[in-house]
Symmetry: C2
Subunit: 250 residues, 2 copies
DNA sequence: CGACAATTTGATCTGTCTCAACTATGGTGG
DNA sequence: CCACCATAGTTGAGACAGATCAAATTGTCG
């Protein structure tokens, strides 16, 4: 565990993607007190039921939110990348209604609730940026409800790939059509409501159709237009500033 | 179309359920400029793709959010009752990524974005209350992802009934175990990711098991504990102040 | 090299969908 | 007040997408 203010840079960078922040705003964010920690892959960060006193900023790596159901099954609710604040809701909702866990080894920066609250009160434009972040989260939830509720297996998996690629691309983490998505097939299943076996067959089908290529955890999108169409993917719900930036892949 | 400030009372009442508002806060909310409108049942209020300039407060009735997918199917994303602000996100997300429609005939109060923004800036505790409202929305989305992703048909339908009952009960709209849920079976299907035919059979099964009784749109919960167990329902995610208030039904 | 996790494949089963028909139910106009 | 029509609910039969179970194969890392 260490203290490193520069870790907050990932946050300002991300917030800047959709929101204009002043120099002062950025400075105020980067002056937040943080407690930084490395967490290994596939470890719980916060468990359902606890009452957090800090927000968690993902500096690098990948994490997910999930719920365990009474029938023993697991549902992944969202994925998060560098610069995300995957439990910002804990500022207002006392008890965690879901768990947070790492996918890959991740660097996490914990920021005391009080500090975030103070910042929000002092700087309306930061409050707006955080609000925007929360609302995009909710928009992605909505799309996921539609994904698991009304799409076929092929559409679901293709849609997940499209979404992750689009978000990573917006963050600058996926420059070409080849990008790393460090998910196991079981995790893709938990995110899309499918069995791991069927995820395997669905990926195979996507490869057979020439839409993607897979080499371990690295995925290559061979035909973005076709993949988009197969998924029924429309990036509008991610509410990025620069729309259709992915379209220029060829 | 008429102007009726008292329509805002439904909002302050609802916000008060989870958040302490001062007399001044309430007065400020109830002084918001509104444009009130009655809308008949099963009509669109706002469509995907538009850029709203007002927020919509549901004064009475019931509305839903939904998405139409490219495969022609519909997914309902949430249900809303009196006092809800079902498109508060439009304050920050320019373009609607889903549509809003009535279930029953509803009274809607439209409040200009500017007025809401001004109120939020002026009154931090109102901002907190609205934020809380948004975050509970998101928490319910999370539960719905799990519902359609990892629950059986019986669990899904039972869970939807549990949720609607719990929320209506918290609003004081469902005093006894009998309550009105004015949904068609096709709508229950669009909310749970099932076909209308299978919803019909699932409701029949719930009746056969002695968990509910149905008379038209009026549902009676015959055995709350059993229904809760069948659904795997845990009301924590609704983040009500008074927990387990429903448990005292017998 | 050995061990454990993840992927892949086959075979079978089943929950849910689709299609189709029939039956309430409720509203409307003659 | 009844005939009519549209909408919602109900039921049956058959099909199929995806689950489950089981085993083999391929990483991958100490």
């Amino acid at each position: 565990m260490s203290v490193a203010r520069s870790d907050l840079h990932s946050l300002t960078t991300q917030l800047d993607l959709v929101f204009e922040l002043s120099k002062d705003d950025r400075a105020a964010i980067e002056a937040l007190p943080v407690r930084t920690k490395m967490v290994g892959e596939r470890r719980d960060i916060i468990r359902e039921g606890v009452v957090p006193t800090e927000c968690c900023l993902l500096v690098s790596g990948m994490v997910c939110r999930y719920k365990m159901l009474s029938n023993g099954r697991r549902q992944i609710l969202s994925f998060h990348f560098a610069g995300d604040l995957p439990d910002l809701q804990s500022l207002h909702l006392k008890t965690m209604d879901h768990s947070l866990a790492t996918i890959t080894e991740s660097r996490l920066a914990f920021i005391p609730h009080d500090a975030v609250r103070k910042l929000i009160r002092a700087r309306p434009s930061v409050a707006d940026a955080l609000m925007h972040h929360l609302l995009v989260d909710a928009a992605i939830y909505r799309e996921w409800i539609a994904n698991v509720g009304r799409r076929t297996a092929l559409e679901r998996v293709a849609h997940l790939i499209c979404e992750c690629f689009t978000r990573l691309h917006a963050l600058g983490a996926a420059r070409q059509a080849t990008f790393e998505l460090p998910l196991t097939q079981a995790e893709i299943g938990d995110a899309t409501g499918l069995s791991n076996v069927h995820v395997n067959r669905t990926l195979k089908e996507l490869r057979r159709l020439g839409l993607i290529a897979t080499n371990g955890k690295v995925h290559a999108i061979l035909d973005w237009e076709m993949l988009r169409d197969a998924a029924g993917f429309d990036p509008g719900y991610i509410h990025l500033r620069a729309k259709g930036s992915v379209a220029s892949l060829g």
